[in-house]
Amino acid sequence: MTDIKLPPLRRRDLIAGGLALGAAQVAGPFVRTARAADTVKIGLDNPVTGTYAAPGKNELDGVKYAIELINAQGGILGRQVELIAEDSTSGDAGTAVQKANKLIDRDKVNFLLGNVNSALAAAMAGVSSQKGVLHVVPGGHADAITGANCHWNVFRVCNTTQMEANAVAKTLATKYGKKWYYITPDYLFGHALQAGMQNANKALGGETLGADLTPLGTTDFSANLIKAQAANPDVLVLLVQGDDMINCLKQAVQFGLDKKLHIAGSQQEMEALEGIPPEARIGTWVMEWYWNQPGVPHVADFVAAIKKRTGRVPTARHWFGFVSAWTCYFGAEGAKSLEAVKMAKALQGFKLPPEVALMPDGAFYRAGQNQLIGDLYVGTAQGQGSAPDDFFKVSSVEKGVDLAGTVEQSGCKMTWPT
């Protein structure tokens, strides 16, 4: 009897294979650095995996579209623009910081963009301000980024949580009543949203009947909804986001709560409404940008262009990314330079042209705070509107300047490098 002999798997072969694989992995960056010498580089450090993958990818699409337009008209200061995108993950600030360092130190980007998650955006702002790189935050909402922790080099496109709360609070208090009950996600962003709503309601003479904190990723809201119903508020304020919002809204409708009290919240996003069945698309919310704006110039072109690229209508996230990339352009062209301080100075009080602002009253970066101030759209979610993707009925367009308070109130004390 003879043994069956298999061809031996030799260690040497394995090592050689491993080395080849390793070499293939590092070959990429060489190519990129070689052709990148004469371009202007924008580094995007944003989530494409995890909870915020959908908004992150939409922002990426917006950035890409803007860069295409910028390059078609000759680039920034006559140089073509190159985008370098890194996955920051949805919640790991350490990774976001590492990627920001990588983009700045190795890729030598002229601009840093990101992040969807405000915690990650704040952490990245620490890196960018220390290294003096112009940084645009497309969609991280925590107030401190352009408030108590503001930096001369950090600009933000999306609104603060307080602005969103102020926008919807007046409508809710006057139309539906001042006794509110909250269902809030139990982490910092949720706490900030609730505090913002409570402040706004208090200013109008309202009161809080109760508030339930729910862990991120809650699927069963029945206990909270029963408790809320028993408290008998005028308005049930839902501050949960993403999948939690979808579950909570669905269950509220199944319980028939929408017939007994008014359901509302501050921030609502198209990404969430797209995931909700038509009958559960209810309630009063704030959108930071909406695609269906009849009569506002250039909006239709933008919608058509994004629809052609992605097959769907643009969301606020597309617009955030779009404006962020254009902000780099306006900073550099205004300063006639790629020096961060000069660009940041050029952007103080800068008013976006209508083809970028895409809002009835336009939008500008408020000097001394670097916060973009435009319009906010208050309205109600709807099962089906005039067009296939029309899930939101805008009832009023609120001007950001009326909602933002003063620079002093924001808590931002900006210091410039000497």
């Binding site: 600030a93 915690a119 952490a123």
Partner: protein, 316 residues
């Protein structure tokens, strides 16, 4: 293993470390990544004192890494903007926690020991996560930076220059690793190996196993605290993830991948882990699969780790 071979490997490692900022760009890296390798390498080697030399598997060593990081960060943020004091505070906090936790778990063995380390680690993770007014919670602790180092009349600008910070971290790495090498060469160090090889026999020889294990745990936590402090200073940032069990797992992966029976193995493991993560994650979101694949291949084909490979060819 021959003395000559040890010397050659050591020489090669130090030459590579001293020149790392210069050759790192050639493999797609940057100076900050080199610093990360050194810091993570120190962490993995600190864990290996316990894992490889004493034979106790801790799955919660990120506790001490994170405590070192928070200790350093909070010192600068709330007390005094001094880099040396921050590091000392981080080390002290980690050592104290190591002493307290170690005393409670040294009687456990095997999986019970490992589970206890995870449990204690998670306590600190949730404290950091929930106590947001002090630790910054999930958002992390921002609003501080490492301070330049003043050495009498000279000032070393470790804040502005990444290269200066690299050599600062490397100097502390050398101090930590040197101390570890010295400890391992003493009778105490040999006793640790004896415990690893045959605990019952060591006990019959009259050695106090628990005390040795405890001391090993404390030394390992202390060095971990140093690594954590450096990590916080590297990022100018710290968040609860540095304390979490998956961070602990990463250190174990580094140690096992590089070779936990060899002195420098964990450093090699850290190098591969950090560089592969950085390079591959730029190309694909599934970088963890690549690390996982490498890890499985190593465990299947080189159970003594990548550096164990070298040792095997040495004359017996």
């Amino acid at each position: 293993m021959s003395v000559k071979r040890d010397f050659a490997v050591g020489l090669f490692v130090w030459a590579a470390l001293l020149t790392m900022p210069f050759w790192m760009p050639a493999i797609g890296g940057y100076t900050g990544l080199a610093t990360r390798v050194v810091v993570m390498g120190l962490g993995a080697m600190a864990l290996n004192l316990l894992l490889g030399y004493t034979g106790a598997l801790s799955f919660g060593h990120a506790t001490f890494f994170g405590l070192g990081a928070y200790g350093a960060a909070m010192t600068i943020r709330y007390l005094v903007p001094s880099t040396p004091l921050a590091l000392l505070a981080g080390i002290a906090v980690a050592a104290a926690a190591g002493a307290a936790i170690g005393a409670m778990i040294v009687r456990r063995r095997g999986v019970y020991f490992a589970m206890s380390t995870i449990a204690f680690g998670q306590i600190f993770y949730f404290v950091a996560f929930r106590w947001s007014s002090v630790t910054g919670g999930d958002d992390g602790l921002t609003g501080w930076t490492r301070a330049p180092l003043s050495l009498g009349p000279l000032t070393l600008d470790i804040r502005g220059s990444e290269t200066a910070f690299y050599y600062f971290a490397l100097a502390l790495f050398a101090a930590g690793v040197g101390a570890m090498a010295w400890i391992l060469s003493t009778p105490f160090g040999r006793t640790l190996v004896a415990i690893r090889e045959n605990e019952r026999r060591a006990r019959f020889l009259g050695l106090s196993i628990e005390r040795h294990l405890w001391l090993s745990f404390v030394i390992s936590s202390t060095l971990m605290g140093l690594a954590g402090g450096l990590y916080a200073l590297l990022n100018n940032f710290v968040d609860p993830r540095t304390l979490r069990y998956d961070q602990s797992g990463e250190f174990v992966i580094m140690a096992v991948m590089g070779g936990m029976r060899s002195f420098w193995g964990p450093l090699l493991g850290a190098f591969i882990f950090v560089v592969v993560q950085d390079v591959v994650s730029s190309h694909t979101e599934n970088w963890m699969s690549v690390i996982g694949l490498v890890f499985i291949l190593v465990v299947l084909f080189f159970p003594r780790g990548l550096l164990g490979l070298l040792g095997r060819r040495a004359p017996a």
